[in-house]
């Protein structure tokens, strides 16, 4: 009955990566497979002289640098546009910024934006691939892919894997993307945190999602533990007492013992030592936090190669 809505002029261009939710499982597997073949140190110039714009409306260290290194490893030319020091500061709209970047020759846009759905808006109006590098509290698909990539380096498959995600779920785009990806491949996910961070409605995100307020319950038998930072910049007036949070939810060496012996500890970063986890856990043998960052590069190489039609 409904046509493409009026505000969406076209379907997203092939190769766009807007979110995990609506991605086909084969596409996800394909990307992970491709990522395994990518080596930033022995790169092939698959994207020689292709123009990729990194459009960042929000602060980023990891995502930005790894997309940039990924693009350059493939021989692409990158331009970074940030909200400060560009026409965005003067009030240019998102779409006009997109049209401008397209006009200067961008062949793909990697966008990070504080507003959920911003990449979808852009993809609905541009004929070039748009890659979501994190949109508000919505999704962070490249992070979910690199997390999946990392997990598969340590675990044979996602099937029946017990994954505990602990912390500020409500504000976390990483969690939303990870839930979509991991549940698709059969992982059993438990979300853990206080009601302000883990509202009951969170269980509706994907089928079979479990919620607990007790970290012990979340950790028991876990194969993968994902920790999250408290996003102070998105708290918007919510009062949470840090000391209470630390007492109930901080990941410590003692608590880690409740999980399986070969459990891995993950964190999308940035980590705040002494808050959501202790330094011992962050630097401990089960931590794969640095490994995740490292895996961001080949994963994003795969994403960019696919975006520009060089996913062979």
């Amino acid at each position: 009955m409904q046509r493409l809505p009026f505000f969406m002029m076209n379907k997203p261009a092939r190769g766009s990566l807007l979110g995990i939710e609506h991605m086909a499982s084969e596409e996800i597997s394909g990307l992970l497979k491709l990522a395994r073949r990518m080596n930033p140190l022995k790169a092939r110039p698959l994207l020689r002289n292709r123009r990729i714009v990194l459009l960042f409306y929000e602060a980023s260290t990891r995502t930005r640098s790894s997309f940039e290194i990924a693009a350059k490893s493939l021989g692409a030319i990158t331009t970074l546009v940030q909200s400060s020091g560009s026409s965005i500061e003067k009030g240019e709209s998102l779409l006009d910024t997109g049209y401008t970047l397209r006009a200067v020759g961008a062949e793909a846009i990697v966008i990070r934006h504080p507003s959920a759905g911003a990449p979808h808006l852009m993809a609905g109006h541009l004929d070039i691939p748009v890659i979501n590098a994190g949109d508000g509290m919505h999704e962070h698909p490249s992070q979910a892919l690199l997390d999946a990539f990392t997990i598969l380096k340590h675990k044979r498959s996602f099937k029946d894997l017990h994954v505990a995600i602990i912390g500020d779920i409500y504000h976390s785009r990483v969690t939303r993307s990870n839930c979509h990806l991991l549940s698709r491949f059969g992982a059993k996910i438990t979300l853990c945190g206080p009601p302000e961070f883990v509202p009951e409605i969170a269980s509706t995100l994907v089928p079979g999602l479990r919620i607990t307020r007790h970290i012990e319950e979340a950790l028991r038998g876990a194969d993968v533990i994902m920790l999250l930072r408290l996003q102070k910049e998105r708290l918007a007036g919510q009062k949470i007492r840090l000391q209470d949070y630390i007492a109930h939810y901080q990941m410590t060496t003692a608590r880690l013992k409740l999980a399986k012996r070969d459990a891995i500890v993950m964190h999308p970063g940035p980590i705040i030592r002494g808050l959501e986890l202790t330094a011992e856990v962050a630097d401990g043998p089960q931590s794969v936090i640095v490994d995740e960052v490292h895996n961001g590069v080949p994963t994003r190489m795969a994403i960019l190669a696919r975006a520009l039609g060089k996913a062979k």
Partner: protein, 438 residues
């Protein structure tokens, strides 16, 4: 008394062979109607009207109803004529079967003085149908001090409101209801506890969580309606009208007020009885409005209340916006959609055909109901002597709505391309044909 539009001498018009549905007059039968000098001159069984007429309208196979009244439209003048003008908005209203619209005061500037009320009613505005201004309840709609209700009423305002914003302060709301009671002037509340909806852009639920958007809890509406009804019960003769009611809990509060014989009325929009929060889909800003599209259980409760008489009127909350105000990030997009041209079609398609609500009740929600809410004397019924405002429609005609052909200056509708049953055939205002379908 407010008469929004001068009815210059029109040729007399005989509406023949139609089926009249007039809930206030309890007519549901084949009846002919003669309109003369801007009034209903005669109403009689088929072929019984002897007096001659300058013109005839053959209404065979059509429903002839009192002119539809929309209690809630934003025509954007003064100040925002790039979105809509009174001329374009009333043209869209006429195409949607409306003969009278009540305009909201949240313009630029806010309609908070008698001068602006009078300005809205001047012939230069080019209104094609009757325009009844609703004035601001507080100065600049800032919620701090009341406007001069008596002067606004004398100038032609039919109600007061700060629509777009709630009147939050208990004392101000109490004072507004008290002054309204003295003047027999309804106070229209946009019920939203904005302390609970800061930075929110849709209904709080599974969809808002999935999309990562901050959600407005249903309680933000119900809390205010609840408080207002408690106040209305305390203040004798006060008249409270709840605008665009959208939640099941707010309906419960309205029922409580009505049972207690408080003078409380409410309206519901076509989009709230049609769509759900999940229709936001992947950030469709044409499904962004305030109050937001709600849950399935809220819609269910609204459908029950439309059928059982709890709801007094269907009002569109027609809220035109330019493309560039909607083609932005969802959280930044303007709230609201156009609605004048799709209201009747949605009511017939969704309420009559799907929910089996009788046409008599649907016509009541567009006519006698709203006329009662704002005391629009001589309107909402086709009794002899009343204003010659008539809406003629074909309840069985199938058609497809095309936003591009809308008479509104704006195109922000989620119903583009929808197939409907039920279409307006003609809209007659003061005895003159303001719209006729081709």
């Amino acid at each position: 008394m407010p008469t929004a539009k001068n009815t210059s001498r029109a040729p007399s018009l005989l509406i023949k062979s139609g089926h009249v549905i007039d809930p206030a007059a309890k007519i549901n039968a084949a009846v002919d109607i003669l309109l003369r000098d801007g009034r209903v001159a005669e109403i009689a069984p088929p072929n019984k009207i002897r007096a001659g007429a300058d013109e005839k309208f053959d209404a065979r196979g059509l429903i002839v109803a009192p002119g539809f009244i929309d209690l809630h439209v934003h025509l954007r003048e003064p100040g925002q004529s790039y979105k809509e003008t009174i001329a374009s908005g009333t043209a869209a209203a006429a195409a949607g079967g409306f003969t009278s619209v009540c305009t909201m005061p949240n313009t630029a500037p806010v309609v908070d003085t008698e001068e602006w009320v009078a300005w809205l009613r001047r012939p230069e505005r080019g209104a094609l149908i009757n325009v009844f201004p609703i004035a601001a309840a507080t100065r600049g709609s800032r919620g701090a001090s009341l406007t001069d209700f008596a002067a606004l009423q004398r100038a032609g305002a039919v109600a007061v409101t700060d629509d777009g914003k709630p009147i939050l302060d208990d004392e101000i709301m109490r004072a507004a209801l008290r002054l309204g009671a003295e003047l027999n002037l309804p106070v229209v509340q946009h019920a939203e506890d904005t302390r609970l909806t800061e930075n929110c852009s849709m209904h709080e639920g599974a969809t808002s969580f999935r999309l990562g958007l901050r959600g407005m809890p249903a309680a933000a509406e119900a809390n205010i309606v609840d408080r207002d009804i408690t106040l209305a019960q305390q203040i004798r003769e006060s008249r409270l009208h709840v605008a665009h009611l959208s939640t099941s809990d707010a309906l419960k509060a309205v029922r409580r007020g009505k049972r207690a014989k408080a003078r409380v009325t409410c309206e519901v929009t076509p989009h709230h009885f049609t769509l759900l929060d999940e229709n936001v889909g992947e950030y469709d800003t044409y499904c962004k409005m305030n109050p937001p599209l709600r849950s399935a259980s809220d819609r269910e409760a609204i459908l029950v209340a439309l059928a059982d008489g709890t709801v007094d009127a269907i009002a569109t909350d027609h809220a035109p916006h330019a493309a560039h105000e909607k083609q932005v990030e969802f959280e930044r997009a303007a709230f609201g959609i156009t609605g004048l041209e799709t209201a009747l079609a949605l009511a017939i398609t969704k309420l009559h055909r799907e929910q089996k609500i009788p046409l008599m009740r649907i016509v009541e929600l567009f006519t006698a109901g709203p006329a009662r809410v704002f005391d629009l004397r001589g309107r909402g019924s086709l009794q002899r002597g009343n204003f010659a405002d008539v809406t003629i429609f074909d309840p069985k005609k199938k058609w497809t709505f095309e936003a591009a052909k809308s008479r509104s200056l704006s195109r922000n509708t989620p119903f583009d391309g929808w197939q409907f049953t039920g279409k307006v055939a003609a809209t007659i205002v003061g005895g003159k044909i303001a719209y006729r379908a081709d």
